[in-house]
Symmetry: C2
Subunit: 391 residues, 2 copies
Amino acid sequence: MIHDFVYDIPVKVYFGRDQLKNLGPELKKYGKRVLMTYGGGSIKRIGLYDKVVKEIRDAGLELWELPGIEPNPRVSSVREGARMCKEHDIDVLLAVGGGSTVDATKWIAASACVDHDPWDFFDYDIWAPVKKALPVLDVLTLSATGSEMDSGGVISNPETKDKHGRMHPLLLPKVSFLDPSNTFSVSAYQTACGSADMLSHIIEVYFNMDQDLYMLDCFMEGLMKTIIKYTPLAIREPDNYEARANLMWASSWAINGFIDGGKDLAWSCHPIEHELSAIYDITHGLGLAILTPRWLDYCLDETTVSKYVQFGVNVLNINPEQPPMVIARQAIDKFSSVLFDSFGLSRTFPEVGIDATHFETMARKAVNGGVLNGFKPLRQADVVKIFEACM
Amino acid sequence: MIHDFVYDIPVKVYFGRDQLKNLGPELKKYGKRVLMTYGGGSIKRIGLYDKVVKEIRDAGLELWELPGIEPNPRVSSVREGARMCKEHDIDVLLAVGGGSTVDATKWIAASACVDHDPWDFFDYDIWAPVKKALPVLDVLTLSATGSEMDSGGVISNPETKDKHGRMHPLLLPKVSFLDPSNTFSVSAYQTACGSADMLSHIIEVYFNMDQDLYMLDCFMEGLMKTIIKYTPLAIREPDNYEARANLMWASSWAINGFIDGGKDLAWSCHPIEHELSAIYDITHGLGLAILTPRWLDYCLDETTVSKYVQFGVNVLNINPEQPPMVIARQAIDKFSSVLFDSFGLSRTFPEVGIDATHFETMARKAVNGGVLNGFKPLRQADVVKIFEACM
């Protein structure tokens, strides 16, 4: 059925090569004391750090820095950022990096406005409310998580081996700077992982028997075709602007909420993967790539086959003149080939150093002790079977 | 090439059947003195008027009304609205109706903030700046112009026989209420005209040799497929919610700026059609439907054929295993059949009472005495030939 929904994405995006001149004026709208966050230093290698700092200085703003945000960002970084915001009376946050940096910065923005520990926002027993957050702007360097245009962030707690995502409208970036040339230096591996993440964001919504607006299905199919077409090109030619631009804009639209319409079924592969990377610290997109075809295979039956047919014919160009189950199997095979051959990602758990030790624990956490009500309801035993299929 | 662009569409949309309860709280954010604008009274026939007034009263707001906004809204209505805003110290405008009502209301919002005549915003010799506007909200009753999510409005001046559109970010609606069931009573004819208008909004951007993001082409193709699929269904079954919902959300996305990327070529059929309806007062979408296939035919040559092939294969399901020119001709024929057979619109100028009397005048005005630099550059003589092909 067609659900009611609210569309509200007030993020302003500067897209393209020659947009950084707008950074100073945009930051200034929100104050003069800026905390800039970034990761391991790749922004210095590509010269982006110097450009950003120059724009901030030229605008007459005061700058503090928090480097070292981890991939799978940790609550300890959020704590440190919140501390700095309070100590230096920061007005506005600027994340320069990929989704991890943007995610951590969103939660720094919220944590700066409260007295409690940042993990209280993620502890299921506490789930502290978000009532206020500092404004966040970002300069994106990786096409993957879509954090630049959504209201969520995922934070890891190594002490409790938890990794939780949470969304709140106050965390939406005010302005995102998307320059595809800032992703030229992204490695083949990270490019592939980013694209697998984007595809998963779409598949989590697309594979849903609660058929919503046809228009949105068309748009999702267009996004998937775009990612499948341009990822191998970006891997072969890292500085192909057309490829990087299509991937970058697709990353935002894969998860900013537009494609959801009013569908509200839970996601499946993302919560399962979060348990994987909470323990093994593997790249999120790689975990998703290994899991997704097995999950698709596990969920295929007579009641769900029509969605696989639509996917196979409209996205993967599979001949429609065949029985539905044949098309569906071909779709899963062809999609596996996209991820493992065309994108070049590892195919199994053993290849990435994961064994069966924690299957039961991870599965129990993924379903939160009950049922994961996504495309098909999954219980702990179902998730274990999906894990086993990844061996 | 891929252009730089700024994406900035902060319009909040409540989509669906059960959203009007949010109207009062949203209006209240902008003040307590409301001017409600509407057209010829169809909102009273469908019971929407009573529902809207009840929400406004229940929210404790004060209400003034300006009924009688015309299709192809006139500058006289804008003058009257601006006068009322000043006299009653209006805080916020609420347009209840189709694109004409929303367009007029946007320019009332701007005109209420200046001392000069509203037509000064449209007179090419004056082109008064927009520096301020009252907030506009709307409850939409027709899927067509996309005014509910864009920053433009088209106003007619019968005295000068001019009809001009102009955009400004301050004119973006703050909140739009899109309830597809409010379009159940739209006649077959108006439904068809609305869909022709939407298709034209997309075609003006899609038919462009300045190839931009593939992702956006995919999205445009999805929008066109959606409109072509659901318009005949909405005509056959006026209260088919799925059809009305797809058309309604497509109308907004056909023109809110997202599909443009950074393309900045001029539109072609819209300015030509504006000259038609400035003189003949025919429905905008009908004028576009008659013009568009002739314009497509006129622009087809070896340098443009590839775009027709893409359109024919991806939108109209034409067999790709044929020479490009054959596919292109089939695409034009099949698209004509969509408009004139499937949508049931009139095919020629004589059928709608237009003869050759004003061809030269309208063509000169359409190219503004020079060249219309759209898909293919058009001079006065070119536009006259397109008119002649409509006979």
